[in-house]
Subunit: 359 residues, 2 copies
């Protein structure tokens, strides 16, 4: 439990950051996000660099001005997307040569470039450029990835211009506790504004992830925010908060929304299922979101089957409300010193929901 201040406002943590990859949280306008209570969103450096280009965005007022979002913005370093989306990558000690997933054009991204781009985007929080090892990777590969990540972190630190933009370092080390510990300890020496756990949510099972976090968290300073990148399901967030993580992002609520999978207090539902054909109830009777206060499951199912554009916005609003409300409840439980009870209660209700579905 803490508070994070940026040039675009303060907010309490633990916090969930909706993902706005290309300068838009898919299907939503900035005032939808404000109404949902979102205070910080994520932008993807790789995408924005390729299209429309960071220099254009810089000229048009930075990412805040370009997309008309008054809240805080965190940009990733572009590293993860280079590894997951781009083709024909060649990694050197200087950075990564790659081809764009959009048009095959050739590019180079290294620590210097990642900083230049993020400084042009004028995000509130920048991420150091890292090497995110694929999963699974053997010990030697990951050891080198930690070496590169540290080398690049030092260069990012050196490239950072004085000013209000914060810079976070990223801990790598795969699933190897000793490499995670080493990466964390090395990074902390560089005195970043915050620290992220990278290279997780890439295929490892939840127990392994918890072990990695347990090996890392004791080596990060208590008074700096910790950000678990790309995670995840509500239960994954709960376990990470339990270990002291402060910040989260994930495409799950927004992507699931567009695929018709909705989070509810009674478990997940797939709106295309025939059982909702005549269902006049809202998605979640316990939910106070815009969508649930106006539309029935039957109507949302119809829109989804008819591929009506409206459904993407309505579903996204609902799922983000679920996540943002979930974080609010977590913060309240921490304030009330009842987080363990909140966590137990969550799993109890999740189990009940599963039983209801099987019944």
């Amino acid at each position: 439990m803490g508070e994070l201040a940026t040039p675009h406002g303060s907010f309490d943590t633990p916090v969930f950051m909706p993902v706005g990859t290309q300068g838009s949280v898919k299907a939503l306008a900035p005032d939808d996000l404000e109404e949902l209570g979102a205070r910080i969103i994520l932008g993807n450096t790789y995408h924005l660099y390729l299209r429309p280009g960071h220099l254009l965005i810089e000229k048009l007022g930075g990412l805040h001005g370009f997309m008309n979002w008054p809240g805080s913005i965190l940009t990733d370093s572009g590293g993860f997307q280079v590894y997951s989306l781009a083709t024909l990558r060649t990694i050197t000690d200087q950075g990564v040569f790659f081809q764009s997933h959009l048009d095959g054009s050739k590019h180079f991204l290294g620590p210097k470039e990642a900083m230049t781009i993020q400084q042009a985007l004028k995000s509130d929080i920048m991420m150091a450029f890292d090497e995110c090892a694929p999963f699974p990777s053997d010990y030697d590969y990951v050891r080198n990835s930690v070496r590169l990540t540290q080398l690049w972190a030092e260069q990012c630190r050196a490239e950072k211009k004085p000013g209000p933009q914060a810079l976070f370092g990223i801990v790598q080390g795969g699933i190897y506790p000793d490499l995670r510990e080493q990466s964390a300890k090395q990074l902390v020496v560089l005195d970043f504004d915050g620290y992220a756990l990278g290279g997780l949510a890439v295929g490892e099972d939840p127990d392994t992830r918890v072990k990695v976090m347990q090996a890392t968290m004791p080596h990060l300073p208590l008074h700096k925010p910790v950000y678990l990148m790309g995670v995840g399901r509500p239960e994954d967030i709960l376990e990470a908060v339990n270990l002291g993580v402060d910040m989260f992002d994930c495409v799950m609520p927004t992507r699931n929304a567009r695929n018709g999978t909705l989070f509810t207090t009674q478990g997940k539902i797939s709106i295309k299922n025939a059982c909702y054909r005549e269902d006049q109830r809202p998605l979640d009777e316990a939910c106070g979101c815009y969508t649930c206060s106006r539309f029935s499951r039957a109507y949302l199912r119809h829109l989804y089957l008819a591929r009506e554009l409206l459904v993407y916005r309505l579903n996204t609003i609902h799922n983000l409300y679920y996540y943002i409300h979930f974080m609010e409840n977590i913060r309240q439980a921490i304030r009330d010193e009842k987080f363990p009870e909140f966590r137990d209660e969550f799993y109890k209700r999740q189990k009940q929901a599963e039983n209801t579905f099987q019944a």
Copy 2:
């Protein structure tokens, strides 16, 4: 200039009805439409009959309840879509056998079915089932189409249950003034709540359309609303208002929006054009819509090129605002007894905009 009252509110005419084909004006929520000042929208009987089905909609509160729209709704008869979308049509004196464009399933739609469906949808204004002749069609084909349309109009009239739903008859007759006159005179005998001009905006040139309207309007009662179906461009609406038409619908503002073509007081613009890459101005500096008060052309161009879902909503809001505002200006000009001046001014400005584009 007049006022039309339905069970879901009154509104001034001439009026433009946004098209909500499948129970949604594409990309917008009902409160977007309310904010835009839309008071009546159109629903398509053919689409709603096929999916999700009129019986389901009836069970869920009619189309108003199903889509949560508090304003007025006009439903078409399904005839035009059977002719333009369905396959393997066979027309008899009883109605039309056809195959669904969705799944090839076989259906029959006639005057009785069109009334049953529209009564289940609980629209405020229903349309009689008509035979819309393709364009071009020879005189004999259109003469028979007028005969069928009249036969079916009589049957629709007989099928109409007592209640608050209004029923409009549809004048057919292609481009043949004598057949239009005949169709209008025959229909008026049946004393409908309003009359529509069907079979226009199907490929004929604007001058021909004006001639058809001139041949028809004198034979329709002055105190009943007249609806020109599926028309059209702002200048088409202007010419029809000039001849006394009260109601309009067209997919042009909404479809163009999704294709990146935007109406402005300076002419139409295609947002994907490279000239808007760094353009910080709103779509239309004279426009007061949600989109223009928040977002730049450069941002909208980026969203469009990146296929971001948000752009469909933002563009649709802008184009519908343009149309609805255009109708407001027409009504004000009529109130001020300055419609001829308004019309001249519109063409003068349109010509200036064209010259600007060429310059």
